[in-house]
């Protein structure tokens, strides 16, 4: 029975099918909103699904120069990392299916796994565009990862726990966006950097470097990387809205808060143009990291003086 339950957990809910469908749904909302902001009709509701099926049915070309094991394993590792991260977050407002003390750190590491896979994939395929894309993706990883982590550390410090479920319960009593606005902004923009959304899409800038690290990927591999990114989007939105927007107590609040967050992200995607990679790094380390560090110092002092 236990095996059956774990199979259900892995294949249907919360990892697996539900997560993939949710990811596609959110990707569609994002594309539709951006299209509406640009005064276009936008894609139809089944567009991400049609894209995924079409890519599945296409030929997968393996370039002659690559290491074949790495070439086929990397997309699988990327999608697996993103889906495993979903086990520790309160997806759809339910208690996380798996939880232990310190799972916040594990989730953050699992969430950065797809980006590392993209970097390795770019290095492995060794086309000049994918190499530049991989370098940029990894540079950007080093830029946003620390501020994003620090931004999620604030609620953890206030709640006095490293467990996502407990922080979620603590956040339900008060909206941490009011007491830690800097952390919220940095976490939101960090999420955009993580997902390589428009202001931070230098790693896959198609006007300069074709398609970045995934230039040589086609068919199934490309589809898995894309779905991995959609899953990352859902998990990241869940994390940020659980920590800052008053916690997730049910499906209603999950949908409302994560879609509101997605709306904010689409607005910013439309407003800003692409940053150069040095501008991205400068923005994170000169402003993001320092502001968040200052806020964390304030939180620690506050906790020390007013227990």
């Amino acid at each position: 029975m236990n095996t059956l339950a774990s199979f259900f957990t892995i294949l249907i809910y919360p990892a697996g099918l539900t997560l993939i469908l949710f990811g596609m749904f959110y990707e569609w909302i994002d594309r539709k909103l951006v299209a509406r902001f640009q005064n276009r009709a936008g894609p139809r509701w089944f567009q991400p699904f049609a894209d995924a099926v079409k890519l599945l049915a296409k030929e997968q070309i393996q370039p002659g120069i690559v290491n074949p094991y790495l070439f086929f394993a990397l997309p699988i590792v990327a999608i697996a990392g993103a889906s495993t991260a979903a086990l520790y977050v309160p997806l759809m407002g339910f208690t996380p299916p798996s939880s232990f003390s310190g799972d916040l750190i594990v989730t953050l590491y699992l969430l950065s796994l797809p980006t590392m896979c993209v970097g390795l994939a770019g290095w492995n395929t060794s086309s000049r565009f994918s190499l530049i894309g991989a370098t940029r993706a990894l540079t950007q990883l080093f830029a946003y990862e620390a501020p994003f982590m620090l931004a999620l550390l604030g609620p953890a410090l206030v709640a006095g726990s490293w467990q996502i479920g407990e922080i979620n319960e603590y956040a339900q009593t008060r909206w941490l966006i009011l007491s830690q606005p800097i952390g919220f902004i940095v976490a939101l923009i960090g999420l955009m950097g993580k997902l390589e959304l428009p202001p931070f899409d230098a790693p896959e800038a198609e006007t300069e470097i074709v398609a970045g690290a995934l230039t040589e990927y086609s068919g199934r591999g490309l589809m898995m990387f894309k779905i991995g990114k959609s899953i990352e989007l859902v998990v990241g939105l869940t994390l940020v809205s659980a920590f800052y927007l008053g916690g997730l107590s049910g499906i209603g609040s999950f949908l409302l808060k994560s879609v509101a967050l997605l709306f904010l992200m689409s607005v910013m995607q439309t407003l800003f143009t692409r940053f150069r990679i040095d501008q991205t790094v400068g923005l994170w380390w000169r402003f993001g990291a320092i502001l968040v560090l200052a806020q964390i110092v304030v939180i620690i002092l506050w906790k020390g003086y007013m227990p």
Partner: protein, 169 residues
């Protein structure tokens, strides 16, 4: 059931596959020697006014991601090898749309010392869109015709004999 007639599940999967192909067309744009007129019209097709994303059409940079190769202009001697290479880099199933009079017949460049001829002398072409340059509406209509052909299961074109190699150098 005999081995030749397709099973039910095969038919269903085939239907889903065709549906997905019809609704998600990623294109890559190749200029094989055009005067840039057709390229501007293709860019106009992608603008918010015509918004081809509502049909699932998206322009991608990498030929590895693309389903449709949009070729403009006559094939010059220098572009010929690159055109073939770009075509070969695309994963199956792939389609070619040739846009503009020059890509169909050579147009005003017919007989130039540096021009090899039309696109279909080099790679198999599925849809021809005439015009100098064709309007964005015409380009969208051509792609819709490609979709209709796909749905009807029209036989794919075959590669014609290469006459570009026979031209005097």
């Amino acid at each position: 059931m005999t081995a030749n007639s397709p099973q039910l599940w095969e038919k269903v999967i085939d239907k889903v596959r065709t549906w997905a192909r019809l609704n998600s067309i990623w294109a890559v744009h190749f200029n094989s020697g055009s005067c840039n007129g057709c390229d501007i019209e293709i860019l106009a097709t992608l603008t918010p006014r015509y918004d081809v994303e509502r049909l699932g059409i998206k322009l991608h940079g990498s030929p590895r991601h693309a389903d449709v190769l949009i070729v403009t202009g006559p094939v010059t001697r220098q572009a010929r090898e690159r055109l073939i290479r770009t075509y070969e880099q695309m994963p199956e199933p792939k389609f070619v749309v040739s846009v503009g009079s020059c890509s169909i017949s050579g147009g005003v460049f017919e007989g130039c010392y540096n021009v090899g001829g039309s696109v279909d002398e080099v790679i198999p072409v599925d849809v021809y869109i005439p015009g100098c340059p064709p309007r964005p509406e015409a380009i969208i209509d051509g792609i819709i015709q490609l979709l209709a052909d796909l749905q009807g299961g029209k036989p794919r074109p075959v590669v014609r004999p290469n006459v570009a190699a026979e031209l005097p150098s």
